[in-house]
Symmetry: C2
Subunit: 96 residues, 2 copies
């Protein structure tokens, strides 16, 4: 009945990051910081976890002389998100 929820996505900050990436083609570090109000350290750690899982691609470049870290969701990430939402529905839309 209640399927397991992917622990990588069942985390407020990582879910917010993935959610942003489902809507915007590409999102960078500072946008995430502004929108989520999380600390840089926290964001950095969660990005690495999502990257290690193959859920996102991390693109490092330079923008007006500063380093820039940009993210894109992968197909694997999209699938994981969709599965997560599908499973989650069983919890939040309880039907008799």
């Amino acid at each position: 009945m209640y399927k397991d929820l992917d622990p990588l996505l069942h985390s407020q900050l990582r879910l917010a990051i993935i959610s942003l990436l489902m809507v915007h083609e590409e999102v960078d570090f500072n946008q995430i910081k502004d929108i989520t109000n999380a600390t840089s350290g926290n964001i950095s750690v969660q990005i690495k976890k999502l990257q290690d899982a193959g859920y996102i691609d991390v693109i490092k470049s330079f923008k007006n002389n500063y380093q820039n870290t940009s993210l894109r969701i992968t197909n694997k990430g999209i699938k994981a998100f969709e599965d997560y939402v599908e499973n989650l529905k069983q919890y939040i839309k309880p039907a008799k």
Copy 2:
């Protein structure tokens, strides 16, 4: 934009328990064990947390000579669940 998710509900097992209680007037310890496949210890701890938060009432009685622990959701619990779901929607239904 992304509102904080109540940490008490953003936990797979506690969410499953609350979800069950949103559907069934009263649910007992063993039903939770059967449905969730969680260990007794885990369930016991999570029940206490939900009780401490005032989200559920815990009714201890005897049923055919054995102790029986039964749960009911409180109004506060219902409100918390509804708020949680409302906030969660922003994460899982990302709109441009």
